[in-house]
Each structure stands twice: as C-alpha cells, then as structure tokens.
Point group: C2
Chain length 393, copies 2
C-alpha cells in the first residue's frame, strides 16, 4: 500500500540515538552512546515500597482516570522546589505533569509552532528537541554555543531577523555539549529575549546534576512572562516511569493543557502517585547527592582518560554537571567513520552530525559517562584513542 | 503577555467532557457524564501483586529507559489475542504500545493529516477523536450513523468527493451512541473503503465489553493493508495506567513509531511490565466476564428506568456493550438547558452538541451507566424524567 503520509512525518528522520541504542544493546559493548542513568542510581527498593503503599492505601483512585494537569501534591512539590532552589515565584497551577521531558517538547511544539515558523536552537542542539519540533515543520535557526553559553550577537541577530516562535536551550550541562551558561551569559540572553519579546524554552533536565550541588539562577528568573521551563524525574528518580513537567505562565499553560488533553488525557496517574509518595517518604536531596557524586567521579575519569589516552589535537569539554562530554576531533577525522571502527571493537559513542540543524559537525562526537563503571570508561577511551591514532596514521 | 500561538491550538476547544467532569466531581452528584470504569472492576489486589513482583524481580530494568515500540511480551500477547479472538493475522511487530487510546488518535493524526485534509468521522462522533485530530487542522466530513452502522451511501459519496485521509469509527458499542455495526454493515464499509483505497481507523475500545461476550469480526479483517486498529487497557485493567496500542500495517507502523519517539520516547515501562505480569498471573477473561456482567446489568437498569420514567417522545439506544446510552429528546428540548437544570438537582449527563462536527444535536445527550450503582441510576433517571416533563410544560 502507498499511504498518503503527512508532510511533517515524511520530513522527520528516525531518531539516530534510539536506532543506535537498539543496535548496541549487546552486553559486551562499552557504550558511551546513550543517555541512560546509572542503574545503581535508581532506588528500586524505595520505589517498591512507595508503589506498595499507594496501591494498598488508595489503589482504586490511583488506578482510575485523573486530571490532565497532574497530581496536585506533586505539582505543589515541584513549585515549592523551584521557589526554594531557584528563587522563582512558581505556583502549582503553573506546573503541568508530562510523560518525561520529551513530551514537554512535543506539547510546546504543538502550541507554539506553525509550519514555516523559525525556531532558534543552540548549535549543537539537543537531538530529542530537534526531532520533537520537526513534526511541526519549523525552520531551525541555530545559535552557536561559546564555552560559556550562546553567542549573544548571533542570538540578537536571529531574533531581529527571523522573529522565531521561541529560543530553545539547556543552560545547565547542555546536551550534547556539556556546556553550562555563565551567570553573565544568562542575563544577557534574558535581556535580548525580553527586548524582542521572545519566549525562552529553558530545558533544565540536568539542573539537579551540577557536580558542585549549587543551583545557578535560571534564565526564567530574569524573564518574567517569557520563561518556560521543562523538568524531568528521569535522571533523579526513574526514566522508565516517564515523568516530567512544564512550568509556564498562565496563558501559555492553558493552551498546553488543551494540547495535553488531546494528546493522552493525562500522564500515568499510578506513577505520579508513586513518585509523590516516594518524595514524602524519602530524602530526595540525599539521593540526588549520591547520583551527583557518582557522575562527578565518572566525568573526572572520562576527562582524565581523554587527556592521557587521546592523541594531541583532540579537544573536549570539561562538564560541570550532567551526563556528557563533547569531543571535537582534528579536522579530517570523520566521527561517523570512527563510530563504525569503534563498533567493530565493541565501543560506541554518538557522532555529532545529527545535533547540527544546518549541517556540519562531522568531526564531533558525544560521550556519555554515566552508565559505565570507571575501569570500563578508561578502557573504552583507550580503544578510541588507539583508533584515532590509526585514522590519522 | 500576548503569546503567538499556533493556528492549530487556537482552533482547538478545551474538552467539554473533561471540563464538565472537573465541575461535577462532588461526592453528592449522580454522574452519567463521564466514561469512568466502575471502581469495583479494577483489580487493585492483583495489580498490587504484579507491581511488587516486577519491582522485586527486575526493578532495575523495569525502571530504566526502554524501546519505543513497547514491551515485547505485551505486544505478543495483544497480537495473539487478535489472532485468537478476531481471526486477524496480527504479529507483535505490528503492535505499538501507547498511552491509552487517546495517544493512538494523536499519533494517527500526526502521521496521516495535513492541514486542510478531509477526515471522515461518524455522526455523532467520539469527542476525544475530534479533539485529537483537530490539532492537525483537518476538515471533518461526518457520516451519519444508522441503528446498525454508518450510512454507506454517504460514506461512499464522502470518499469519492472529499478523498479523506481516513475514516475513523468505533464499530463496537460506539461512543457516544452505543450503536454496534452489524456484520453486513461492516462488510459494506470495508468494500467501499477498499474501492477508494482509504484507511479505516477502527477504534475498538469496547470490543471486549460486548454484553454477550461474543466477538464480532472487525472491519480490519475485510480490509487488508488499510485497516488500523486501536485498543485500550483502560476499560479492562486500569485507566490510570494509560496503556493502549495501535495495530497497523508495516509501512504505517514505521511512521507511527517515529511519531511516538518524537512525542515521548516510549510509554511508561514500569506499567507495561506490571500489566504484562498481571496478564501472566491472572485470568483476564474471567475478569472481563465480571466487568461485562456488571455493565450489562447496569445498562439494563438504565434502559428500563428510561422506559418507565422518561415521558413519551424520548428515544434512546439499547446498547449491546460498552458504557453509554444515547438519548434523543423531543424537538425543542435543549440538552444544554437540561444539563443546567439537572446539575441544580445534582444529576449530570453530557449534552450531545460537542459530538457533532457540523453542528446540530441540540436535543441529544450521552448517558454513562458504568460508574453508578443500580439504585442511583434509577434515581438519577427519575429526576431527569421529572425535569423533562417540567420543560415540556
């Protein structure tokens, strides 16, 4: 059958990340390709207790239909944490529970993008966002990342010339680059966005995973009425339960709720209840501190291994948080070729090309450090170092 | 702030159903408005055991990221049930796990509708589908329902004249009308759809809830390559866990997976595992039989109450399954006015207007019978009967 597909789906590529992950799930593979939390950082026992409590005490309600906006105590928890941690004036009726961060991006695309609209995005940009927004047929306008945040000259020029529907960025430990915006850069971005009355979609999937544990002031704090934040419990609780949220001003919130209703009525209510119970019964800050320690140590091992085992001329970021190191290979080294060669040696990383909405990035790659133990990280980086020498050879 | 919203979201109304439900959740209200399963039909204890088993035995994996397509044994279960119950040649790689039926509609809209495309839909049509598809800006072409299924003359004319992206219908115990397509009508629809090479989106949320327990042959069986089915565990397991599925031919399936990836990566994996475990450890057919008995009895009570307590001139369907009776009041009776008056007497039903994509339906209403006990049903119908007599003066 020749189906008559929509224009949007025909123009959306399959996610390279997920396809790659599927091909590389064999047990003997050293994988730097994914973005999986370390299994040791998932509190299975605590989640088991919370699940048992919720089903025993209030199962009939926890298993029934629920409201689109999400479980009220969970929304209050998130708002309160924003107030305390980020100094934001957040209220529960500005928090919409979603199926992980990814659905935030889909709903924002649904509500803000018409076909042909410009969307400003970091260069390199987060692949999941590129894919989610693509379905609403925007024209991406990339804003290059400097080591301390977006190139504000390009940002201003982009807002002035293209009047994008919004600017999407990840100020804390960006995916894929690992870059964190400096405080100065955050203020500059906010000033420009306010001047051009442009919404900033501030993806904060990694804000809790800053290695020093200190919260940086989000751009949204400098951008009243134009800041939309997205958050996720995938990295600090469980990715399999697909729970995230959007924090948005009232008018925008109302439209996001309509889009959410139409998309799937509401997010898994049992899981919202389990999470809410877990947060009541456990010290999430202590749990996050454990994750942070585990990831900081692994990031250090990865960066040190790269320093020692990569040939000269390879550049890489030194992340202050999150899950990724971004590598720039010497000119002429194709990371797609490196991917193929490394796979033959049972090591995988992610070539950088799909993170560029305007082409380029052939000599870049994303390395995840959270899902392997330190010895494995060192071993895998060593193998890639050898391959790089071979390829330059 | 005046945000620049997308055209699609501006033209999508908030769900009347969900807004109504919110307004009518007070404990003392007799509600025929929603579509909630009876809480007694949710096996809380069995789900609790399954949850404990999954988390204890394989928690690390059940709480981690998973594949977009869904849990393989669950997909095999669904395919096998289709083969056995419906005689379909279904394979697990044609089954995509979704967040309930509602997400099926969103994904199908994403993949098959371009703005301005025609979409054929029953008249009256399912409100959740109207809302989901609306976000992709189609032009609805309603096909009136006769007591035994769609008016096939109008269906043929619609396919010929408007070449819709697909025809969407609910052959078993349709929502809102309660009508079930006859076997003859199913074959006629399939013949016309095949002739015009038009996809049929066959929503089968209520196929398991036919009161006589016998499966009717789905339209998809007569429509190879053009049949897409959607299913739901909300009515037979738990709505709060938001689990459903799409059954689609390979080419279409591939696009749906891309749309699903972009929408939320994958459905809640812990819940998929709990459901899969539940299906292994319990006799779901016995559980479904219990639900069927409970709903058949309530449907009988509602229909009998309407026969006895409604004034002459009110027509209503006698459903063979599902959750709803559809009522047509005498001309001149506004069901919106009835809604307001009944609410003042603490009884609610759903006015029929939002189920009509082309206007009309002012004197119709949907009555849910699954979520109240028999005495309450009789009492509520009595109150509405009195109001109808009052309104006719």
């Amino acid at each position: 059958m020749a189906y008559r597909f929509s224009r949007r789906i025909v123009s959306t590529p399959k996610s390279f990340i997920r396809e790659t992950l599927k091909a590389t799930q064999a047990a003997d593979i050293i994988s730097f390709a994914g973005g999986l939390p370390n299994p040791e950082c998932i509190d299975t026992a605590g989640i088991g207790r919370a699940a048992a409590d919720v089903i025993r005490e209030d199962g009939k309600r926890a298993l029934q239909y629920a409201t689109t906006e999400g479980h009220e105590p969970l929304r209050e928890y998130i708002a309160e944490r924003y107030r305390r941690r980020y100094g934001l004036d957040a209220q529960p009726d500005e928090i919409l529970i979603t199926n992980g961060s990814q659905q935030c991006l889909d709903l924002i695309g649904k509500v803000l993008i018409d076909a042909g609209d410009a969307v400003a995005i970091e260069r390199p940009g987060y692949l999941g966002a590129i894919q989610a927004f693509s379905l609403y047929e925007p024209v991406f306008q990339p804003v290059p990342l400097a080591p301390d945040g977006p190139d504000t000259g390009v940002l201003e020029e982009t807002l002035r010339t293209h009047e994008p529907a919004f600017f999407y960025g990840i100020p804390n430990a960006q995916n894929p680059s690992g870059i964190t915006y400096s405080d100065r850069r955050r203020r500059e971005c906010a000033k420009i966005l306010a001047e051009y009355e442009t919404v900033f979609v501030e993806d904060d999937a990694y804000g809790e995973l800053r290695f020093d544990g200190k919260a940086m002031v989000p751009v949204a704090r400098h951008l009243p009425g134009l800041g939309v934040m997205t958050g996720s419990f995938s990295k600090i609780f469980s990715p399999g339960m697909r729970l995230g949220w959007i924090y948005a001003p009232a008018d925008l919130y109302e439209k996001l709720v309509i889009a959410k209703q139409a998309s799937d009525l509401h997010s898994n209510y049992l899981s919202q209840r389990i999470l809410s119970r877990y947060l009541e019964a456990n010290d999430i800050d202590a749990h996050i501190a454990t994750i942070r320690d585990a990831y900081r140590m692994r990031a250090q091992v990865m960066v040190q291994s790269m320093e020692e085992l990569f040939p000269d001329g390879v550049a890489f970021t030194r992340p202050e948080g999150g899950m990724f190191v971004w590598v720039t290979f010497p000119e002429g080294i194709s990371s797609l070729e490196l991917f193929e060669r490394a796979l033959a040696h049972r090591v995988v990383m992610l070539p950088g090309v799909p993170f560029y909405t305007d082409g380029g990035g052939e000599s870049t790659g994303r390395f995840n450090f959270t899902n392997a133990d330190p010895e494995t990280i060192r071993k895998g980086i060593g193998i890639i170092g050898d391959l790089l020498r071979e390829m330059r050879g």
